[in-house]
Symmetry: C2
Subunit: 302 residues, 2 copies
Amino acid sequence: MTTRTDIETAHARIRTDIRRTPLLWLDPALCLKLECLQRGGTFKPRGAFNRLRSAGDLSRGVVAASGGNHGVATALAAQALGARADIFVPEISAAAKRTRILAHGANLVVGGATYFDALAASTKHAEATGAVVVHAYDQPEVLAGQGTVALEWQQDAPGLTHVLVAVGGGGLIGGMAAWYAGQGVQVIAVEPETSRALHAAMQAGRPVDVPVSGVAADSLGARSAGALMFEIARHHVAQCVLVADDAITAAQKHLWQTAQVVAEPGGAAAMAALLCGAFVPPPGARVGVLVCGANCDPGSVG
Amino acid sequence: MTTRTDIETAHARIRTDIRRTPLLWLDPALCLKLECLQRGGTFKPRGAFNRLRSAGDLSRGVVAASGGNHGVATALAAQALGARADIFVPEISAAAKRTRILAHGANLVVGGATYFDALAASTKHAEATGAVVVHAYDQPEVLAGQGTVALEWQQDAPGLTHVLVAVGGGGLIGGMAAWYAGQGVQVIAVEPETSRALHAAMQAGRPVDVPVSGVAADSLGARSAGALMFEIARHHVAQCVLVADDAITAAQKHLWQTAQVVAEPGGAAAMAALLCGAFVPPPGARVGVLVCGANCDPGSVG
């Protein structure tokens, strides 16, 4: 299981590759971490850089399957490290994300209806070429890389009592929950009602397949929770809440109108939980909300 | 002349009214201060709150004339302090800014082609009502309030050698230059080629009228530099540079594409100076760029 030491090691490894994203306090009890300002537009480069810098030899290239954001991050990291990247994306991936993948010099392969179709194609590619695989969420180096969000946040805002984090496949919350385990900070998972892989896993006692749809599907629409993250989440995620699509859209507007922050639907889901009452902070809580991505048309939030 | 003590006093007075805006380091030698995430969408509430909190009795109301952003800020500050606000805006003011003024419960008076027409009308209103006037830039409390941007920045990024600041009437750079005076930090003024009030004042040795136009006119289009700021600027602004409208638009796109930051044209002007080469940092420089506003349609930056 991912440890705090793994995450400290990851942070030392990638700290010059990534941005230490800033905090924005909206009031003394509400702290946003603006991971939407990260290189590549989301938290994902943390895991990708940690995986690639750990892998050593990248001469056979790099491969990833991704609904979009992980593909952008892997392309960016591979380009920075001078490696070839092949990125497999499903047909539902957003145009803005495909454009960013191509802008980082990667080879883009569009095929299949879902993330899992793209994953199968990427696995074949890896077997044929020996390319280094960067999984979107279910890989130890990826979990440790994403966990560096929590390391920075605890250093910069040591007094938080709760942090709200959106969940797709769970690499981000898995890494963050591993960091915050035993630290007196409750990690709250937020999923769209229509993409509830972690909810379903918690109910079943193991990752199970769920249908995915909705406004955040292109970033949070994982068909199942990761096996590695689930072992962390079952012990160290305090609560799982669901938000409706209209709450996500309202949160995007709210972030723009009150803080001039642009977030894509998946990036606004955690804020949505607070605004719509899916999560109600107890008296005295000091709440952190992770705004985890902004790979979207900026005009979509106004 | 505005002193560091005035600015420290202002900061103590307004610190719970405003956000301490975060820094985003794009590389080890380039630090953005994201004042575009301030309440009201720009730096302007700093000055407005400092003026209103200094004024004492607000029972006769508050009045301001503003191309938009200062009006938003004054409306916001008056609402927060429970005072009536009348905001006089010229016809060129942007729709997004008018909407925000109204959202803060102010009475909006649209009239006249330019800021100075609105100013004249607001002065009549103040004489008739005894309302507290908040000037957009040429008032000691406003200068000291805007100077708190520099106080925070020096505390949070003590090693900067240069800071680039956009100039309209000059309240912001006046306050900031007063703070940085004698601190070993060069303050660089950035104006649009088509709204060059400070340039003209520097050449003439006193504030003089200039024509104003261009993409940033609704925020930077002051017809002359403030008298108070000019006495500071002539001693403590190291360099004045000009940027073309297309450089400003390119800087807006760059801020979005590389950092997912939305800036209005005036808010992106300082970044434009760096990107287009109007300001070239000397070797070893550690440059700060102030992104000072985001009251715009977010779709305008994509």
